[in-house]
């Protein structure tokens, strides 16, 4: 393959161009396949020639980023190891711990810190308030589409493929309403879930951003609807999010 072929964009504008982009596109294609996949499928998803995919898969398998079994190609153990050493959840928890504790003290409600995974939000820290309904523990998964934390995250998520994948279930009017809601969340910097995810539970959430404005997760507060006043907690939640962002930048 010639240099020009490597470096010149051609055909679809989305087609990955640099070697690194191609490597990442292949990893993402395997991730999205959800289970073992094939060269043909990866080529279709990445819009790369099969010969290119075949060579990249061989290189990635050699370095354990991918694994080839009888069932096909899947993500490899090196990614698992690197993922456990990635610092985001731990850095987030460190920066947010005192903030979510004081938000809980100030309101008496359950406060949680969430990161996005697939179509879910996953709890990485939580402090129990007066709500007995849900186990306030780390590792809890909730749907990103309907929860306050999910909407706060998605409104600030720059990766449109994530937003599209999660909102793919919505049709026609619902999809329009969802986009409008995300626009409102962006201007208010808080998202609200009035019992849509869990009947009787009101939640208000705000994004946690890195110092260069990349959304890392969300902080949410949840209480019994009717008893917790969303107008009162919204500014507190928003301030908590900003405070975590400042603490992350200072860390």
């Amino acid at each position: 393959m010639s240099l020009a072929e490597w470096n010149t964009p051609h055909g679809s504008a989305d087609r990955p161009v640099s070697v690194l982009d191609r490597i990442i596109a292949v990893l993402d294609a395997v991730k999205e396949a959800d289970g073992a996949t094939t060269i043909t499928d990866i080529a279709a998803r990445t819009e790369l020639p099969k010969s290119t995919v075949s060579r990249l898969v061989a290189d990635l398998t050699g370095q354990r980023y991918l694994e080839r079994t009888d069932e096909g190609i899947s993500l490899g153990l090196r990614l698992f190891e690197l993922g456990t050493r990635a610092s985001v959840p731990r850095r987030l928890v460190n920066a947010a711990a005192p903030v979510i504790r004081s938000l809980c003290d100030a309101t008496g409600e359950r406060v949680g810190l969430w990161v996005q995974q697939g179509t879910d939000m996953v709890s990485i820290a939580a402090v129990a308030g007066r709500l007995p309904m849900l186990p306030a523990r780390a590792g809890l998964r909730t749907p990103a589409l309907t929860t306050a934390s999910g909407k706060a995250y998605l409104a600030f998520c720059a990766d449109t493929s994530v937003v599209n994948r999660i909102s793919a279930l919505l049709v026609a009017d619902d999809a329009d309403h969802f986009r409008e809601e995300l626009a409102r969340v962006r201007s208010a910097v808080v998202a609200t879930d009035v019992g849509a995810s869990y009947p009787g539970i009101l939640a208000v959430a705000t994004p946690v951003l890195s110092s260069d404005r990349v959304v890392l997760g969300a902080i949410s507060i949840a209480g019994p609807s009717g008893a917790m006043d969303p107008e009162r907690v919204a500014p507190l939640v928003r301030a908590a999010g900003a405070s975590v962002t400042r603490r992350l930048a200072a860390a």
């Binding site: 490597i23 190891e81 990161v115």
Partner: protein, 253 residues
């Protein structure tokens, strides 16, 4: 600017891997200079790779420091084998922890190493120096020996061909000694590690066997030399491994 070199996928991948591997087990931020020194690459190269990786969120930048990024975290969470194993194994691991009051580990074999995929902490008084995602030499651990004992001969040869590195004065470093012990482990159904990986640490492991009797993982109980009596916990470890073998086979078929 991208040179001809940069367009070769293996060399790009090698450099990316060198940068990733430069981050230690401690969750620390590194500057470009330190990263370049550890990865043994020119600073300009690391700076360029880092910019690309930050753009893709494979690295996170916070001020002048770089961290392994959120996208690696996401990809790591999706890796099928550890995810499936953890899901199935956690209830069994919890039971084993409650019965033994010791820390329970679950690991898979990767050539000459084991990779820990789940940890269930026991008594807080003693914390084995083992973490999720951690990599340890197979020959120096009960987890690794339990899996090697049930692996095909050529896999054992591959795993031992680069020499058996010493971790403590008790580590088995002679291949014939290891091979004899693997025979015993097969006969007993469990492997014992006595300060071979870390001083004060003892560990009992049994393999989780899949189709064809090959090991898919191993489960272990770890404690202090004084606190853990191998013969007392071995039956519970073996039973837990057998339960998991059955459950994994049933869910796969």
């Amino acid at each position: 600017m991208r040179t001809a070199n940069w367009t070769d996928s293996v060399s790009v991948l090698d450099r990316v891997t060198a940068v990733f591997d430069a981050f230690g087990e401690q969750d620390e931020g590194l500057g470009v200079s330190e990263l370049a020194r550890r990865a043994n690459l020119p600073k300009s190269t690391v700076s360029r790779i880092a910019t690309d990786l930050v753009a893709q969120r494979f690295l996170d930048r916070d001020g002048d420091l770089l961290y392994l990024g959120v996208r690696l975290f996401e990809l790591g969470q999706t890796v099928e084998l550890p995810r499936r194993l953890r899901q199935r194994a956690l209830p069994v691991m919890k039971e084993l922890r409650d019965v033994t009051h010791q820390t329970v580990h679950l690991a898979v074999l990767d050539e000459s190493d084991v990779v820990v995929v789940a940890v269930m902490r026991g008594e807080p008084a003693f914390r084995p120096p083992v973490r999720i995602g951690g990599r340890l030499p197979a020959h120096a651990t009960a987890l690794g020996k339990a899996m090697l004992a049930y692996s095909p001969h050529d896999a054992v040869v591959r795993a031992t061909s680069c020499g058996l590195q010493r971790r403590t004065a008790h580590t088995i470093t002679e291949p014939p000694t290891l091979l004899r012990q693997l025979v015993d482990i097969r006969a007993l159904g469990f492997a014992v590690e006595r300060e071979e990986c870390a001083l004060e640490l003892t560990c009992i492991a049994s393999p989780i066997l899949g189709h064809g009797g090959l090991p898919t993982a191993a489960i272990s109980v770890a404690g202090t030399v004084g606190g853990l009596v191998p013969d007392r916990v071995a039956p519970a470890v073996r039973a837990a491994a057998a339960t998991l073998s059955r459950r994994l086979m049933a869910s796969d078929s």
